[in-house]
Symmetry: C2
């Protein structure tokens, strides 16, 4: 008898009819001899409806009260789901984060799970019940309701699977799985059957649409096999698993892009120890995340510093940087919001050199100029002009033969 944790997102439970359909699916899985834990999100639109009311009342809604408010969305869904299971002839019980005792820290609206008590869960599972747990929520040491942030239901599901030692954690969503790249801009994109945790982490921008990135880190840490699949079909989706369990690794597994970046360059910075800290400290103090940082030495005493920030932090970052640039005696500050970060990701890179240079060649062949480059063990990222996004993704997808199924490393 296997123990399976399933998670259904907001669109999967967006109406009473859809909740009934999910109940039938879960019961079927139970009848195949599995113990079932079902994590549900709020019905589609509900979180937005509640947030709109909060914003109408308080300019910057109080975070504790926001959690009190938003956590009702999942509570509604699990109650309705438990009713649907019972109506369909099986037994079910709904449990809140507080009732399970999903203990978190006190960081309202972005709490982190500390531990999960599985006593009550196991009791109900052993009694043959389908246990449905409110996603996205926990309880802190004061007994206050906390929420885990957007995508938190994925984290709830993986954390429950880890705590229960489940055989699999299935994340149901409205797409068929994780694709080699965005099918909207590359018709050759192919569903990936198996992918490693590390690749999934690097494919954030592809993965974020189907699986919250934080839950992937958790799955990796506790080695929980995650199956991302569609609520609306019976097809196998994408399994996110340990690298060792993937028989034939691709050299490149996926191509991802991120339009949500902006570039800032400070020219002719006096090159002295501590200068980078002087620039980046006030930026991080303002809560702005810096992604790529590149430093080019111009001549012996001057350097150019280029980095990227999220596009909606661009204006604030520019303001801060201009002030700092003046203080440190840099020549000028320039910026560009029309950029995109294109990345190729694959665990196969670990053992193969030359992947980065292949990427550069492909881009050069298409006449695409690279502004910045950064590499990690399993990823190469290039900043290019935003207008080349589709062209670059398609050319790379084609060149690395991602449309072909499971090309083994040996054939390369």
């Amino acid at each position: 008898m296997a123990l399976i944790v399933q998670k259904y997102g907001g669109t999967s439970v967006g109406s009473t009819d859809k909740i009934k359909a999910v109940a039938r699916r879960v019961i079927e899985c139970q009848k195949q001899g599995n113990q079932m834990v079902v994590v549900l999100s709020a019905m589609a639109g509900e979180t937005d409806r509640l947030t709109a009311m909060a914003n109408d009342i308080q300019k910057i809604p109080n975070l504790r009260e926001m959690d009190m408010l938003l956590s009702t969305g999942e509570q509604v869904t699990i109650a309705l789901f438990a009713m649907a299971v019972k109506e369909a002839g099986s037994d079910a019980i709904s449990l809140l984060g507080d009732q399970v005792r999903i203990r978190t820290d006190r960081m309202h609206t972005r709490a982190r799970i500390r531990d999960i008590d599985t006593t009550l869960l196991k009791k109900h599972l052993d009694a043959g019940r389908i246990v449905t747990v409110a996603g996205f929520q926990g309880v802190d040491d004061d007994g206050d309701i906390t929420t885990l942030g957007r995508g938190g239901s994925d984290t709830t599901a993986v954390a429950l699977a880890a705590a229960l030692g489940a055989d699999a954690c299935e994340i149901f969503t409205d797409v068929e799985g994780v694709y080699t790249t965005d099918p909207n801009i590359c018709s050759q994109a192919r569903k990936i059957d198996h992918i490693s945790y590390d690749e999934m982490l690097e494919l954030a921008s592809l993965g974020a649409k189907v699986l919250d990135i934080r839950s992937v880190g958790l799955a990796k840490r506790y080695n929980v096999p995650v199956h991302v699949r569609s609520t609306f079909s019976d097809n196998e989706g994408t399994w996110v698993v340990e690298e060792d369990r993937i028989m034939e690794s691709m050299l490149v597994s996926g191509i991802t892009y991120n339009r949500n970046e902006a570039r800032i360059t400070i020219k002719k910075v006096p090159d002295q120890p501590g200068i980078a800290a002087k620039i980046f400290l006030p930026i991080s103090d303002a809560g702005i995340l810096v992604d790529m940082i590149i430093q080019n030495t111009r001549d012996s005493h001057l350097t150019d510093m280029t980095f990227t920030v999220m596009r909606n932090d661009y204006a604030r970052a520019m303001e801060i940087v201009k002030k700092v640039a003046e203080e440190i005696g840099a020549e000028s500050v320039t910026g560009d919001e029309s950029i995109v970060k294109v990345s190729i990701v694959g665990v196969g890179m670990r053992n193969h050199s030359g992947i980065a240079s292949t990427m550069f060649q492909i881009l050069a062949k298409e006449g695409i100029n690279m502004m910045m480059v950064s590499t990690s063990e399993i990823k190469v990222s290039c900043i290019i002009s935003e207008k080349y996004t589709e062209l670059a993704v398609r050319a790379l997808h084609d060149a690395f033969a991602l449309d072909k199924d499971n090309v083994p490393l040996e054939e390369e």
Copy 2:
């Protein structure tokens, strides 16, 4: 410094603007030097919306899950209210029934409060916070959410006032208070300034529109002064208090009517010991409440048995009674759904005889035939034909001079 518990119903918090208005009102009351506990209902329409979804999913919704579902309504309101108070510059915190520890029995959807822990409430009150508590809900010994049934927020408010030893419990609603009779059918109806608990209990049908009858019993038991008043004006409403605190009692305080009754008569029942039990046991076994019961001896061995039930139980009750009548050898069963129960209520009756006969005279003068009569210490009820409802209420209101303010007993 007084401690005041206020309760606002669903129409009072039916929109974000109304919630802001309630917040301003509560803050003003706090600024006058009071500690404030605020019990809120779900936003108007929310409970119906949730119930409709439940009914769409499960024919007879599971009661535990129903409580899980419905309790979200109040949770949303208290979170939004706490935000509104903070936005208006005062401090507030919202607490669920579970967090306060409003302990109830396990009777889902109609739980009864066992006890309330005031530790957390007092801590927040002493810190100067406005404490808002979700009405209608509690928690049982298993940690499951329970609800107190419709009107349960009134009970929450009175129970909190009792547990905290509050100076007053103010119930805010959309009317100005309790009236001598229904203003819709008697334009002379007058708002009552002070009324005793016992009278309020007997005036159920008048009172139920503004104050849940169960909460009146609780208020009486713990001697909590209850002030029923309008959310939408600053006028004093009706104080429901101990009889001793009302300086000048009226002979008759109010006139109430109840159209929700139906009459059943069993003719020529063999008059033997135990016959009443034979008739009424199967009725109560079916969960049907019987209100008035009258037995007329017809001759030495036969009796006529007449009683009333709620109108929506009438068909079921008739079915049961016909079967029983056959078994016990009664002659026939007749029934009437077009009846109304008109009652006069007043603590003054305790010391004054002749009130009932005055009532009979007034009705006779109007040509209204009485089908049944029952009396208690402070109430006289008559069953009459429904078509005479307005005529009877107006004639009695006029005859007992209820349009005149505080006629003292001595002047009668």
